[in-house]
Symmetry: C2
Subunit: 204 residues, 2 copies
Amino acid sequence: MNELKKDNTEEKILNAAQTVFIKKGLDGSRMQEIADHAGINKALLHYYFRTKQKLFEAIFKKVFKHVFPKIEMLVLSDLPIEEKLGTFIEKYIDVLLKNPYLPAFILKEMNRDPVFLASVMKSQGVHPEHILKMFEKEMEAGTISKMDPRDLMVNVLGFCIFPFAAKPLLNIMFFENDKKAYNNFLKKRKETVKKFILNSILIR
Amino acid sequence: MNELKKDNTEEKILNAAQTVFIKKGLDGSRMQEIADHAGINKALLHYYFRTKQKLFEAIFKKVFKHVFPKIEMLVLSDLPIEEKLGTFIEKYIDVLLKNPYLPAFILKEMNRDPVFLASVMKSQGVHPEHILKMFEKEMEAGTISKMDPRDLMVNVLGFCIFPFAAKPLLNIMFFENDKKAYNNFLKKRKETVKKFILNSILIR
DNA sequence: TCCCGGTTTAACCATCCGGTTAATCTTTTT
DNA sequence: AAAAAGATTAACCGGATGGTTAAACCGGGA
């Protein structure tokens, strides 16, 4: 039963820690609260993950994977650029719709330790160069307007991520805190963002 | 000397608190650290601002004013839409260039208390309706493409704010942590963002 | 059955931290 | 110059918090 039991509690801990950390951040979270949430003793947390810091880093890595989806195939495929960008935007916003709290969490905790952040990014295999190269080729081929490819990438990411990160503010500003209306707005953005971006860069 | 002294220490406290809070957030900041930073006794903090919470709220309000510039005139002016949007983008990115840490701070602490956030927004006179109306009129007049005006506004804000909020990540991704290069990138965005947006929505 | 390794817990510890208090120092008022 | 009012400090307090320890528990093998 050893294996099973261990996996079970470890998973319970990870789930509880994720819930609490995402909501309250590293500083705002209490080991006791995580333990309660997992239905175990506080000492058991330290038995599995020696320190709060280590537990947090495990969660951060786990969560980080979610917000950097595997887009390599998309880049390497030979679909036309508008298809590539379109499906990326759609898929990415879908991921965020399923994990709407992740952008705020990542942005919140990003500043804590740049070295750790860099190591996580490297270990996750984030390779912006491929995408930048792809954009540059399209520009040379004359399918999209010439610009700094990093600008293009920041713009696409910003369109997808920002409305999730700034949710509370935008929700008050535009929807009087009507959660459903805001969610609807986000869903529609899969199309509007696509249109907005392609309308700007596509050369017909 | 009463007035002068009081103003002086109060200002010292506010400055110190702003520095520390912006860097470490509410939970990560220590009253002692703020006191040290201001060169005063910890008890004096409580003398001026009874609790940590109250001190934090004072800072949050102060900082919030900065990121919501007075754009009413711009909206009410009868410049053509491309001028209005252009100068807004330019001015806004300029504000953020002078306070590059503010977006991350606001996004970080936004979730803490939605009610307080709403009250701050109201007290700052954030009136998105004017801007939305303005956009709608332009769409009816046929000067810009028809779309949900809220999308347009989120897009403009996202373009300006996101690259500041996600600075550490983007800086590693695109510039190998070269701060100057990244700052240069942000400066250039005043033009590229303008172009990108107008290119998408303007009807010629 | 008894022991042994890994798991889980209750109790504990040292430190940190927000906040208070009472005394001191400084400025203003009379 | 004395007293009153205000600003500032050192010392302290109680509770919270991350982490430790030693004992109990539990399943599997001898």
